[in-house]
């Protein structure tokens, strides 16, 4: 993974000192609330229901065991022994004290971490496939480009005050696991017919109030032009994006207003002036960053060793966990392990300090000291020998990490909701828990198969409800919490926005509605058909009829 040099360290230290000074001036009254708010947001600090919330960047979801131990230490020392992973592969602390935030940032800087641009109207944390570098279906490793983009976007002097937040995702695999089509910019690392590496550039996707699937503005952008082209896109957005209405300020609205062709032409015009300028990447520059992402010294191992197959045959529960919570690895004899943070009764994405320490130890003991954070809010051990999987499973069970539900209905992507977030219309955690409880029977859950369930507590759509196969949105009706259900959304290479099935539900009725939807699916599915496939085939009507039937 990337390691800071002296300059990276210096920039982060200087940012900590800048923020310490800003915090002190705010506390002394020299900065007003209106002046301090954008400054603190640009450093990941929200003021929430109970206390400030600090969001720490985990660039493209890469985490070392040392960093995870530091996060555990921060959770114990400055917070209430836990933290929360977000859908941008970041981590949030819910209870820090404002005056101590600069000290937390100083601790983070020691392990090459920061909270720079984790909020605010600026370029946010760049995200990618959590299995980048180890996935079996990877075409090209996106991580060097992610780091190049991270550095380009960090404290960019021209783009610190954009009309609205700006999110970039990069994917290099066959299956798009980075939700690139619902980002402000989605980049696919591709090879053209001549064998040259470059990017397919998608612009203008996004969720929120106006969910839109992004469209391609450039089929093939040679690698060397990456940063000049990004500068051109951002400059067009910075100058012409709407600033009069925050709900119409994302780039997707600008792209719609200009039309994709019009927007692409404007970018092209801007880019002509920047192209081949000093920000042009040379092969040697890309090679420099790629050198941080070489493979570890994998052992040469057979696939499916006896240590694994014997245990699989003897223990169905282990086999079930392996099927759901591990993924194929590009290296024979290895798999990637997903540590599920979706145990029933625990808010999705929450992790305790003890769990962090345990996972860090396993990363050292069974892997190469690295972990990944998935945008589905789970933690990943990327490189585990197949012969060690049984032991890892037992350890994971002992720490509450082994719920075998990855990719299933109860692996709910969920925002913190009204329990924590001051923007939310409704609570998400108790409703997610009620659903998890209703579908707690593992045989039933496995029978239902792969279902993405995404949950947002408000229109900001942090829980990506639009692209859940089944999505839930918290809405406010005269001060009461209600829940709207959408069906048919999907992420990945064929991203689609789900459709609302009808009037919203009271909190207590959500699990029953889910059960009716699942019953229709089980009745209607043909052999081996996944939930989303059935929904696409039969449409929403059979589900609507059942869910809203008067006497049933």
């Amino acid at each position: 993974m990337y390691r800071y040099d002296e300059v990276d360290h210096r920039i982060v230290r200087e940012r900590v000192e800048q923020f310490r000074d800003q915090t002190q001036r705010f506390l002394s009254g020299a900065l007003t609330e209106d002046e301090f708010r954008p400054l603190r947001l640009m450093n990941g600090l929200y003021v929430q229901r109970h206390a400030p919330m600090l969001r720490v960047a985990i660039p493209y979801g890469h985490l070392s065991s040392r960093q995870l131990r530091k996060l555990a230490h921060i959770a114990r020392t400055y917070d209430k022994n836990y933290a929360h992973f977000t859908t941008r592969q970041n981590i949030q602390f819910n209870w820090p004290e404002l005056a101590r935030v600069p000290d937390i940032l100083a601790e983070l800087a020691e392990v090459e971490m920061h909270a720079i641009q984790t909020s605010g109207n600026c370029v946010r944390n760049t995200t990618t496939d959590a299995f980048a570098g180890v996935a079996q279906d990877e075409l090209l490793d996106p991580r060097a480009y992610c780091e190049i983009i991270r550095q380009w976007s960090t404290l960019h002097p021209e783009f610190a005050f954009l009309p609205r937040k700006f999110k970039i995702a990069v994917s290099g695999s066959l299956e798009d696991r980075a939700a690139t089509q619902v980002h402000d910019i989605g980049l696919h690392v591709v090879r053209n017919e001549a064998g040259e590496v470059g990017f397919k550039v998608i612009v203008g996707g996004g969720l929120g109030r106006t969910p839109i699937v992004g469209e391609v503005v450039k089929e093939f952008l040679p690698t060397r032009h990456l940063l000049t082209y990004l500068d051109a896109v951002l400059r067009v957005y910075n100058r012409f994006g709407r600033r009069d209405n925050k709900y119409k300020a994302r780039i997707k609205i600008l792209v719609k207003a200009m039309t994709v062709a019009g927007f692409a032409a404007k970018v092209e015009d801007e880019w002509l002036h920047l192209k081949d300028g000093p920000s042009t990447l040379r092969d040697v520059d890309v090679a420099h960053y790629a050198s941080y992402f070489t493979d570890p010294a994998y052992d040469v191992l057979p696939s499916n060793p006896a240590e694994l197959t014997e245990k699989l045959a003897a223990e169905p529960a282990f086999a079930r966990w392996l099927e759901r919570n591990t993924r194929p690895h590009k290296q024979a004899g290895y798999r990637s392990v997903v540590l599920s943070l979706k145990k029933t009764g625990v808010p999705p994405g929450d992790i305790t300090a003890d769990q962090m320490d345990a996972a860090a130890d396993w990363a050292d003991r069974f892997g190469y000291g690295e972990l990944r954070v998935a945008h589905e809010q789970n933690l990943i051990l990327p490189d585990v020998r197949e012969r060690d999987l049984y032991e890892v499973w037992q350890l994971a069970k002992s720490q509450g990490f082994a719920t075998p539900n990855v990719g299933l209905l109860t692996d709910i992507i969920c925002c913190p909701g009204g329990d924590f977030c001051s923007l939310a219309n409704a609570r998400s955690i108790p409703v997610a828990e009620a659903i998890q409880t209703r579908f707690d029977d593992l045989d039933y859950l496995f029978d239902l198969g792969e279902i993405d369930c995404n949950f947002s507590g408000c229109m900001n759509a942090c829980g990506h409800h639009h692209i859940g196969n089944i999505g839930i949105l918290g809405v406010d009706k005269n001060g009461e919490e209600w829940y709207q259900i959408t069906l048919g959304g999907s992420q990945g290479s064929h991203t689609t926005i789900g459709k609302v099935i009808g009037p919203s539900f009271a909190q207590a009725d959500v699990p029953l509605a889910f059960e009716k939807i699942m019953t229709v699916y089980l009745e209607q599915r043909t052999n081996g058909e996944r939930f989303i496939e059935t929904v696409r085939r039969i449409g929403l009507d059979p589900f609507k009829e059942r869910v809203y039937a008067k006497h049933h």
Binding site: V7, Q151, E158, P278
Partner: protein, 170 residues
Amino acid sequence: MRSIIKDGQVTQDSWQVLRADAQGQYPQVAADVDVIVPLGLWLADKAAWQNRLGKTAVWLAPDDDPALLAADLSSLPLVAVDFPAFTDGRGYSLGRLLRERYSYAGELRALGDVWVDLLHYLWQVGFNAFEIKDGKDTDTALAGYDTFTERYQSTQREPVPLFRRRVTSQ
């Protein structure tokens, strides 16, 4: 006269900024004062402004097109960009365009909601003069220059981005 920051120094300055009042009317400008006028007024009657006794400069609003000023840049004594709110970042792009695309080499001044925390970025995109907003201290704002000693990007001050200097220096 008021204090401004110019080229890293606090200096006294006599330029007056011509702004519309609440009714959209512009006050009369005495013939002998040095005045910074909005782009629209400048374009409406360039010759009249150029023939005044005092000097005339131009300020751009965030949604102005700097291309409209391109032909005049070599003869203008000063160009300013207004930041009606510090969170409106359009002026940063205008600064770079004026410097990099239109090769403006004269004084580039930031007006409006400008204070210490913004100086570093403004300097990097090409501004070299800052009228600090009322109520904020001009002397201590000088510290804003030094917030960061290095940056990743190609900027007007250091066109060679860090990644090129890094690899070349190895």
